[in-house]
């Protein structure tokens, strides 16, 4: 378990184990123990009488081990949570093997108490060591297999969840309704006085929506994403007029790099919605991009509005979280996104590993 290569990739929380405290899990363990006992009995008996004897003995022993293990893992839940996958696996494995050793020793002691040394062929003193070693080895193998099984199931479920999440995120990333209605209002206003501007705005809006409806799992060229962002800017400029200035410094960027769609436009949208729109005189947003060879970063800064007496808004975080999730799924190497106030500006920095199309 400890050397599982997948462990290093995304997983930061170690507890992939199911909840052993639940009644359902306890029932499962009882059933599994009985099945194993049945298999043992079937493989060993020669007379019907012996079958029942072996089954009874194996059941008793395995139930003790199974339920004891469940109780231990249940009790150790807090200790397992929050550890790395490796540490949690080692701890859980250790607990299971230790539990088996103790119960084996207890069984030996009980047999000695009830039957004396000579009575039971299976538990003769010279066999005691072998009995213990055999149980511990079987337990180690079965624990390893089980932990591996839990881990893989957990990873699989996590992946399914992440994919579903990213699909939802992609949906949420689609442009704010607020923006749509404001833009339509602007277009309605322009249609009579400045029909050609209105026409251009409709075209830009159409392209923006087309791209936001595209399959979010397909990556696009950085150039396309930047064009989309500029279209968005053009529409907002019509609405906000002199209040909005955007300075672009992105010539350095690798335009053929592949990025998930809508990874930059929402950041400009945020900068406008939380920054410029709240400033009576407007302000300047700066977008800077630098290429570092194996990856590139994009930096978006906007002036902060004077802080309201009670800071209650947190909508900003949703878009950031959303982009973070989609970046995490889009690349093998980690992409990064940092955001926070810096002086009188708010700054978001994206770091994206470079994947170029052929």
């Amino acid at each position: 378990m400890a050397s599982d290569p997948m462990a290093d990739q995304h997983d930061t929380h170690g507890n992939y184990l199911p909840d052993f405290c639940s009644g359902q899990m306890v029932l499962t363990i009882v059933l599994v123990a009985e099945f194993v006992a049945l298999v043992l009995a079937l493989s060993q008996y020669s007379t019907p009488q012996e079958f029942w004897l072996v089954l009874a003995r194996a059941s008793l022993f395995l139930l003790w081990i199974g339920l004891g293990s469940a109780a231990l893992l249940c009790a150790a839940r807090n200790a397992l949570n929050g550890r790395s996958t490796t540490a949690a696996s080692a701890l859980a494995g250790g607990l299971l093997v230790g539990n088996t050793a103790i119960i084996s020793l207890a069984a030996l002691a009980l047999a000695k108490y009830f039957f004396g040394d000579a009575q039971n062929a299976l538990l003769q003193p010279q066999h005691a060591g072998i009995f213990l070693l055999r149980n511990v080895t079987i337990c180690a193998i079965v624990s390893a297999l089980l932990l591996r099984y839990f881990y893989v199931t957990h990873q699989w479920r996590r992946n399914v969840e992440l994919q579903a999440l990213s699909r939802i995120s992609a949906l949420q990333a689609r442009i704010r309704p607020h923006f749509l209605f404001n833009s339509l209002n602007t277009i309605a206003s322009l249609t009579r006085d400045k029909p050609s501007l209105a026409e251009q705005a409709v075209e830009d809006l159409a392209d923006l929506f087309r791209s936001s409806l595209a399959d979010a799992s397909i990556k696009i060229h950085l150039k396309e994403e930047l064009e989309m962002t500029r279209m968005y800017q053009r529409i907002e400029e019509l609405r906000l007029g002199e209040r909005l200035h955007v300075v672009w410094d992105v010539d350095d960027l690798p335009m053929r790099a592949l990025v998930p769609g809508l990874c930059i436009q929402p950041l400009l949208e945020n900068a406008i919605y939380h920054g410029i729109e709240n400033l009576p005189g407007g302000g300047t947003i700066t977008i800077t991009g630098r290429d570092y060879g194996n990856g590139f970063d994009i930096d978006i800064r906007n002036p902060l509005p004077p802080r309201p007496p009670t800071p209650t808004r947190s909508g900003n975080q949703i878009a950031l979280k959303n982009i973070r999730q989609r970046l995490a799924l889009a690349y093998d190497r980690p992409a990064k996104i940092n955001a926070g106030p810096e002086g009188d500006e708010y700054r978001v920095t994206l770091w994206i590993p470079k994947v170029e199309s052929a």
């Binding site: 209605f181 209002n185 006085d193 007029g241 709240n278 007496p309």
Partner: protein, 245 residues
């Protein structure tokens, strides 16, 4: 009727002007691009109806409407909004209090016919229904038939009398119509901290605590010589707050 258009977006104002032109019978006496400008314009031009955008930089439409409601002869207010202002569902019963953008000519005409004054209670209900209520930027005091606006960050302390609350400023005190309780709820203790049954102090201006000769405690604020009474009950909390912050 005399109308005032309040919107921070120029194209939106242009379109509203044109719609009103198409309806006829109305005069737009002024335009404003944020809440404070709207308050000034209302007092200068005394419009009958204000068409008010909600999301504007600085003072928004909801706050401006709350201040307007304090006037003796407040104008009727019709909110205009693009989307998302769920709080406005509080008005849905009448369906004349607000219009969604892009505004339709017939709806605008109908809203103007039915335009009514909004009561403070209605506006408070809207604020309470808002999921992320933003505290106001100004206190407003009625001075005859005019409003005096006091930026919230200028208030040093708030002291309750029998009927009014006095806002403490460096050289004077101004009476406003709110209760300490509502102010406490609106801004939270990070902005105004309770030091007495009848007083809140502005955290940003708090200078320290003094022990007076008679054993009572006083709170000192920057910009004023006044020592504010701190009740025994709140003294410990205030000390803890000062140490913690």
């Amino acid at each position: 009727m005399k109308l005032l258009i309040v919107d921070d977006e120029q194209p939106a104002r242009v379109r509203m002007q044109r719609l009103l032109g198409d309806i006829g019978n109305h005069t737009v006496v002024a335009e404003a691009d944020h809440g404070e400008a709207a308050l000034d314009a209302v007092q200068t031009h005394a419009p009958d109806v204000v068409l008010m955008d909600i999301r504007m930089p600085g003072m928004g439409g909801l706050e401006a409407a709350r201040h307007l409601a304090q006037l003796d002869q407040p104008p009727a207010v019709i909110f205009t909004t693009a989307y998302n202002e769920y709080a406005l569902e509080a008005f849905d019963a009448q369906a004349v209090g607000y219009l969604v953008k892009p505004v339709r000519l017939e709806k605008l005409a109908r809203a103007l016919e039915h335009a009514e004054r909004l009561s403070t209670a209605q506006l408070d209900a809207v604020r309470d229904a808002d999921e992320t209520p933003t505290a106001r930027t100004h206190f407003s005091a009625r001075m005859g038939d005019r409003l005096r606006m006091i930026p919230v960050e200028q208030a040093l302390y708030l002291q309750a009398d029998q009927k009014y609350v006095a806002v403490g400023l460096p050289d004077e005190e101004v009476l406003i119509d709110d209760s300490l309780k509502s102010i406490e709820a609106e801004f939270g203790s990070d902005v105004f901290f309770r030091i007495h049954r009848n007083a809140l102090v502005a955290v940003a201006h708090l200078r320290g605590v003094e022990k007076r000769r008679d054993g009572t405690i006083g709170a000192l604020v920057h910009g004023s010589d006044k020592s504010l009474d701190v009740s025994r009950r709140h003294a410990a909390e205030l000390r803890r707050f000062i140490r913690g912050g």
